[in-house]
């Protein structure tokens, strides 16, 4: 049923975009997971409870191939570490 709604709408919602091949984003794979892990480790507040917890979860997810979720956790860990640093 949804195609019935989206068909006329997609025709109306055409957005002019560059017609070249999509640009490849590099922050969605195992390599970037590792970059974030190293960055978190270098952070002065990486051992605080929340950054450490989130970092562990992120590493675990990345190790299981769930890079998107793992990268999100590691980023939240880094934000938490930064916040700790600013707060403390």
């Amino acid at each position: 049923m949804h195609w019935l709604f989206s068909l006329p709408v997609s025709a109306l919602a055409i957005i002019p975009i560059q017609a070249e091949r999509p640009l490849r984003v590099t922050t969605d794979g195992a390599e970037y997971c590792q970059t974030l892990v190293l960055r978190l480790a270098a952070s002065p507040n990486a051992t605080a409870e929340l950054p450490r917890f989130l970092g562990e979860e992120g590493r675990h997810l990345c190790a299981n191939g769930r890079y998107r979720a793992g990268i999100a956790k590691l980023r939240r860990a880094l934000r938490a570490a930064t916040a700790e640093q600013r707060g403390g």
């Binding site: 109306l12 919602a13 560059q18 070249e20 984003v25 922050t27 930064t82």
Partner: protein, 469 residues
């Protein structure tokens, strides 16, 4: 298909549907409704999708400016670190950066390659990006730095989804708007046709020759009822005029047949029986006098017709009404004395603002004085007055005669009306008709009243009111 000949130079007849006022009103309704709906959609769009776009652009612009500032403070290493930090802290996973050296070497950012075919420094563009196994859309801004090129952008996947949802809602809403507009237009057309139908049916009935048709009124008191009431007034007036015309024709036929027949009979009798030339001559003179009387009646009729048609209005000029009235009084004073009556006047020296036809006014006043003298018994009093009431000028002739019953007064102003009590007196029954026609020509009216209310006899008072011009 109509076989009616098409006149040269005239525009071709539009299609039947377009000739319908109801249909054109309906089209107007659709147009207004659609414009209003489009305006609403535009405002809604500007406040939602437009706001998101503006927010994204502002965010990118601020981010790019901050990075340029960082480059000025800390050089390339500082800029690289700032980009890496921003990427590392981007929990929403929506930022896009790419910093390349002049030779195309990638220094920082999360785009693998520099896009081809983009503009110079300051360019904004939209592109597709591939991440997490899918393709999304992004808005990107280019800034050039000494020896470096920088791209700053945002993933717009969520915004595109929202925009799609909005577009979808707007599209269906517009569809609903058009359907409702069409329904509303059809209702308006039907309602207009339903309200116009009685007037059309009445007009068709009248056109068919039956003047008794009238537009039925709904009682709502709206524009259609007002139109219907106006049409009915117009039809009443036409019917009254036609009845008057018929009455006048009948009266002319009746009142002139007798004197013509009488004159003819006299002449014929004289022709057959006249003893000599002198007797024949006397009969001919009598016949000529009868024909003169008939001619005078026609002249009076023509004057009334001219006055009623307003044909004499071109001859209007400022006049001294008291002087005109004094002339009339002087002429009729002698006649009143001959009938042992007294003619009194109450006339001001001057009356301002009187513009009219002197001859007709004199004739009207003369008719009134003539009537008054005719109906007032010896020893009676006739009175001629004029006064300025502020809004109008009033001229009144009163007598002490038998007066006229109120029920006869409206008819007394019609042509050829003769009260029963006056049938033995000479006259054509046109005098008061001319008075009324002259009064109406001068923007006023003629009114018949008792000269002495309560007295016996009450006498008659005829008041002519004239508009100040």
């Amino acid at each position: 298909m109509s076989d009616a000949p098409r006149l040269p130079g005239l525009r071709p007849t539009p299609p039947r549907l377009l000739q319908s006022a109801g249909f054109r009103f309906a089209l107007l309704f659709i147009a207004i409704y659609s414009v209003a709906a489009s305006f609403l959609v535009a405002v809604l769009w500007w406040a939602t999708a437009g706001a998101l776009d503006r927010q994204t652009i502002a965010s990118i612009r601020t981010d790019a400016s901050t990075l340029v500032e960082r480059f000025r403070e800390s050089g390339t290493p500082g800029l690289v670190e700032a980009i890496e930090e921003r990427l590392a802290l981007d929990a929403q996973n929506e930022t896009i950066y790419l910093l390349v050296a002049a030779d195309g070497r990638r220094l920082a950012g999360n785009l693998r390659d520099w896009p081809t075919a983009i503009g110079e420094d300051g360019t904004w563009f939209r592109t597709r990006i591939q991440h997490d196994g899918g393709v999304a859309e992004a808005r990107v801004h280019r800034r050039d730095l000494p020896g470096l090129r920088l791209l700053v952008g945002r993933d717009e996947s969520e915004r595109v989804q929202l925009r799609l949802l909005l577009t979808e809602g707007v599209a269906w809403s517009l569809g609903a708007v058009l359907i409702f507009a069409g329904l509303g237009a059809a209702l308006i057309r039907r309602a207009l046709q339903a309200r116009m139908r009685p007037a059309v049916a009445t007009a068709l009935g009248i056109a068919g020759g039956d003047l008794s048709h009238r537009v039925p009124l709904s009682g709502q008191g709206d524009e259609f009822d007002r139109l219907g009431a106006t049409m009915n007034d117009m039809l009443d007036r036409i019917a009254s005029l036609m009845a008057g015309l018929r009455g006048v024709s009948d009266a002319i036929a009746h009142d002139l047949r007798t004197p013509i027949a009488r004159a003819r009979a006299k002449l014929e009798e004289s022709l057959n029986t006249a003893a000599g030339e002198a007797e024949l001559r006397a009969a001919m003179e009598e016949g000529i006098a009868d024909l003169d009387n008939i001619s005078r009646v026609f002249q009076a009729l023509l004057r009334i017709a001219e006055a009623e048609a307003g044909a004499r209005r071109a001859a209007f000029a400022p006049l001294d009404l008291p002087e005109v009235l004094r002339d009339a009084a002087e002429f009729y004073e002698a006649m009143a004395e001959a009938h042992e009556q007294r003619l009194e006047t109450d006339l001001p020296e001057h009356l301002a603002h009187v513009v009219g036809d002197r001859d007709l006014l004199l004739q009207a006043v003369a008719n009134l004085l003539d009537n008054a003298i005719k109906f007032t018994p010896p020893g009676g009093v006739i009175r001629l007055e004029a006064r300025d009431t502020g809004a109008r000028i009033e001229v009144a002739v009163s007598d002490s005669g038998p007066g006229l019953p109120p029920q006869d007064r409206a008819q007394a102003l019609d042509r050829f009306y003769r009260a029963d009590s006056s049938r033995h007196l000479p006259g054509s029954g046109l005098g008061l008709s001319l008075v009324r026609a002259v009064a109406q020509l001068h923007g006023g009216e003629a009114v018949l009243l008792d000269a002495m209310p309560g007295a016996d006899p009450p006498g008659l008072r005829v008041v002519i009111s004239l508009a100040k011009l």
